[in-house]
Structure formats: structure tokens, C-alpha cells
């Protein structure tokens, strides 16, 4: 099984990286870009047939920091 977990900053939490990238894009002339926020994505290869529970668990307990981050996951195939 292949799955994907995205971890991203909660709304309202400052994202210095995204902010700096947005400015850089703006300076490069991409002026239609209004906002950039950066997150992490984990591609996971695992043996389970029904990985939903395990994905939810590792996202919550290991990959995301619940104080500032949220996550979502999906099974790819």
C-alpha cells in the first residue's frame, strides 16, 4: 500500500518560510501570487491492507505537532 500524509500549519500560525517564498516570487515578477504556505508531505509504503487507522495514528502522534499543525492523509493505491 502507498499512502500520503500531508502536514500543514493551522490557519493563523505564522509561516515564515511561505511568507519569504511569496516575497521572492513577487520580486521575480509573479505578481499574481497572493499567498504561499508551506507544508510537509510524507509518502509512506506500508504492508497493511486497511491502513486508515494506522495513518491517522502516526499522523497525529508522530508526524504532526498538534499545537500548531493539522494533517490529512489519503491512501494512494
Amino acid at each position: 500500500m502507498r499512502a500520503k500524509i500531508e502536514v500543514f500549519l493551522k490557519e493563523g500560525v505564522l509561516d515564515p518560510q511561505g511568507e519569504t517564498i511569496k516575497r521572492a516570487l513577487y520580486t521575480l515578477g509573479y505578481s499574481s501570487i497572493k499567498d504561499v504556505r508551506q507544508g510537509k508531505v510524507f509518502y509512506i509504503e506500508l504492508k497493511d491492507k486497511n491502513p486508515q487507522g494506522i495513518l491517522e495514528e502516526i499522523a497525529r502522534k508522530v508526524l504532526a505537532n498538534p499545537v500548531i499543525e493539522d494533517f490529512r492523509w489519503e491512501v494512494e493505491r
Binding site: P16, Q17, T20, I21, A24, T27, L28
Partner: protein
């Protein structure tokens, strides 16, 4: 003309933090001329050697050196490189040279994933570059490293080309970060662009624990004076 001072230009990007250290060593210790170049400058102001110092340009956001490569001054630096001008990229400066394609390869996160600041032992592999004239092949040096993205990566054919063309200038004795072929510093095909992760400017005074790095600047100055 033999004793005229060589003019080093030190590029300052937002977030650069070894600019003053490098300036100090070039001017006060090596006794050459040093000037700052602002990242928005469109002119190298007569610099004979350009130094991209260490630090965290643009916070190292996105990837180390990734945003700095778009600075206005980079166009001038590329032209300067094409014409054979001497360029030294130290730490973040090395990362910028990689990101902008002036040197091959890329930096990954250190093997241990952590920032490492420590003195490392280096082996001089090539003493015929403009930056290592004053060293001897096989010599061991002590210089500090201070980085989190110093794990050099390149495709196998690039690595073998670097080996074949003797473009690996310094190698780590105890590879601290996972770099391919233990490499700590490389030069460009033409030999005029030098990138290294260790900080020669932090190893230029015995008071600070080593003066092994000073000859990088002295070599470049000598090369310029004699050519």
C-alpha cells in the same frame, strides 16, 4: 605591482551572517583589501576575488541558498565566473553556488539531521588550484564546520568526473555529514570557482584554535597578484 593589495568583494544577502568575519580576516589578518557587495548591486566594484560568505541567506527557507540565487548580483557573478574571475563560496556561499549551477551537485540534510558545529580534520587533495597554492597535497588541516545541510549529493557520473578531473580540493578525514566521497570542497571545471563547507575565516588566527584556513585567502590573493 607585485605588492599591490588584492580587492576582495564580499557579497551580503539578507540573512548572511559571516560577512563581517570574512571581511575582518581578509583585511586585518591577510592584509588585503575587502569591500562589501550588496545583493542588489549590479556591479562588482572592481573586485578581483568574489567571496560568498556563510550564513542563512533568506533564512535558508525553501532550501539553503535557493532564494539567494535569484539576487540581482548573481548575474554579474555568473559573468565574472565565465571570464575566469575567482569566486569562493563558503558554507552557505557554497550552497548558493550549487543552487545557481556554478558548481555541480546539491546539498541534502546532514546524515544525523542535526546542525553540527565542530572542528574537523581535512585532507588537502589538490594543491594546484588558485585557492590552495600555499598548501601541500596530503597536508592535514583543522577547520570548523557549522551547518545542517552539508551532505553533498551528485549523480555518479558527476562524482566520477569530479574525481577524474581532480576537482575535489578538500576531503573530510571523518566524514561528519554524509557527503559523497567525503568531499568538503570542490572547484569548477575551469578551476576558478571554489565551494567549501568548512569555514576558513574561522580558522585564520591561532587565538581561535587554528590558522589553517588563512592560506585559502592568501593563495587567492597570490594567484591574482601573479597572473
Amino acid at each position: 605591482m607585485g605588492s599591490r593589495k588584492v580587492k576582495f568583494g564580499i557579497v551580503v544577502y539578507p540573512g548572511t551572517n559571516c560577512d563581517m568575519d570574512t571581511h575582518y580576516v581578509i583585511k586585518e589578518v591577510a592584509g588585503e583589501e575587502a569591500q562589501y557587495l550588496w545583493h542588489e548591486d549590479l556591479d562588482l566594484k572592481g573586485s578581483q576575488v568574489v567571496v560568498l560568505p556563510g550564513g542563512f541567506s533568506y533564512g535558508d527557507y525553501l532550501r539553503s541558498g535557493a532564494i539567494a540565487r535569484f539576487s540581482p548580483i548573481m548575474k554579474k557573478i555568473k559573468k565574472f565566473a565565465e571570464k575566469g574571475g575567482l569566486i569562493i563560496g563558503i558554507c552557505n556561499g557554497f550552497q548558493i553556488l550549487l543552487e545557481s549551477g556554478l558548481l555541480p551537485g546539491a546539498m541534502l540534510r546532514n546524515r544525523g539531521l542535526r546542525f553540527i558545529c565542530s572542528f574537523e580534520e581535512l585532507l588537502v587533495e589538490n594543491d594546484e588550484t588558485p585557492f590552495t597554492l600555499l598548501y601541500t597535497k596530503g597536508e592535514r588541516l583543522r577547520m570548523p564546520i557549522a551547518h545542517i545541510d552539508g551532505n553533498y549529493f551528485a549523480e555518479i557520473d558527476v562524482l566520477s568526473e569530479l574525481e577524474r578531473e581532480r576537482r575535489i580540493v578538500f576531503r573530510y578525514i571523518n566524514n561528519p555529514n554524509g557527503s559523497a566521497h567525503d568531499l568538503a570542497g570542490i572547484i569548477s571545471k575551469k578551476g576558478n570557482v571554489f565551494g567549501l563547507m568548512p569555514h576558513p575565516e574561522r580558522a585564520s588566527e591561532a587565538l581561535l584554535g587554528s590558522a589553517d584556513g588563512l592560506r585559502v585567502f592568501l593563495s587567492a590573493a597570490k594567484y591574482v597578484r601573479e597572473s
